[in-house]
């Protein structure tokens, strides 16, 4: 075993992670190698010094000093939460305004109603006009009346074809 490997195994043994044959080989190497024995003593000393610092006591009244800070933070957190959400709510609110505005703008107004709808709203019979057309005696008169009626509606759908 070379010293490099021995150092690795030595650290494992100091962590109680080396057993059996490995531990025997390391013990044999340490017996024969003064440099590794020195390294072992130095590592032992170093680790015991490091472990000395374990669980150092904090300054007195740790919890008593922490408690008011916890209370303070828990009061601030809901405010921060609301602040964060109110910032996110601004674009949502603007989008809603645009949607409602668009809906109101695109809804057909009373002035754009068809003639039939206007007649219905005024509680008049929309068929009475048509009835008059069909009651006309001459076909020319009927055609002319239909043409004028379609011009009044401003739509090509009802225009008669010649």
């Amino acid at each position: 075993m070379n010293c490099r490997k021995a150092e690795k195994w030595l650290l494992m043994s100091l962590d109680a992670r080396l057993e059996g044959r490995g531990a025997d080989l390391l013990a044999k190497h340490l017996e024969a190698c003064p440099a590794c024995r020195k390294a072992e003593a130095e590592y032992r000393s170093m680790l015991s010094l490091l472990r000395d610092g374990r669980d150092a006591e904090p300054l007195p009244r740790f919890w008593e000093r922490l408690q008011p800070r916890l209370r303070e933070e828990t009061e601030i957190v809901p405010l921060l939460f609301w602040e964060r959400w109110s910032l996110r709510a601004i674009p949502v609110f603007l989008a809603l305004v645009v949607m409602i505005g668009g809906f109101l703008f695109l809804t057909p107004q009373a002035g754009e109603l068809s003639q039939s709808a206007v007649l219905l709203l005024e509680d008049r019979d929309p068929l009475s006009e048509t009835q008059a057309l069909f009651e006309a005696d001459k076909p020319e008169t009927r055609t002319m009346m239909l043409m004028f009626a379609s011009l009044d509606e401003k739509t090509t759908l009802r225009r008669p074809t010649p």
Binding site: K8, A39, R44, F62
Partner: protein
Amino acid sequence: MEEKQLVRLAREGSPEAFEELVRKYQPKVFSMALSFTRNREAADDLAQEVFLKAYLALPRFHGKSEFGTWLYRISVNHIKDYLRKKGRAKEVSLEDVHEISFSDKEQTEKAERDREIESRRTLVQTFVGSLPEKYRIIVTLRDIQGLPYEEISRILKLSPGTVDSRLHRARRMLRVKLAPYLVAEGGTYELS
């Protein structure tokens, strides 16, 4: 009361349960902060901030890991942030080390012993503090805090092999730094 139960009660808003958890973990969190800052006041502040963070994050802790592991992870991340903000720690002055490693002969025996213990701690902490961050964290968690390899691996989200190799390298570096201050005395090595 079992830790899981304490955590559950603390999540539900019981200050008594959280207090018990703080009392259990405060020395560990404090000593970890101390090994990074080498200043008791700064370490105390950091420990308080860690517990504040943990308290606020408690509703998001679902018990997938142990509470201690979770708290250590918060501590390590918070200390890293602190060190990053603070900038690189002061370089170790060997003159400072000599100064603190010698005991004051005029002190009484007990005071001298206490002082010597404190000096040793400070010396080791100084050298640990001079290691690069990734090695410093691993030495602190393993050799100062005494955490098992598996837990360190979970806290740092590193493979056990990486933890092993980093720790090995860190200990070698530390031994090289500390070696001049370790002399043989009756078969054991102590600080001069």
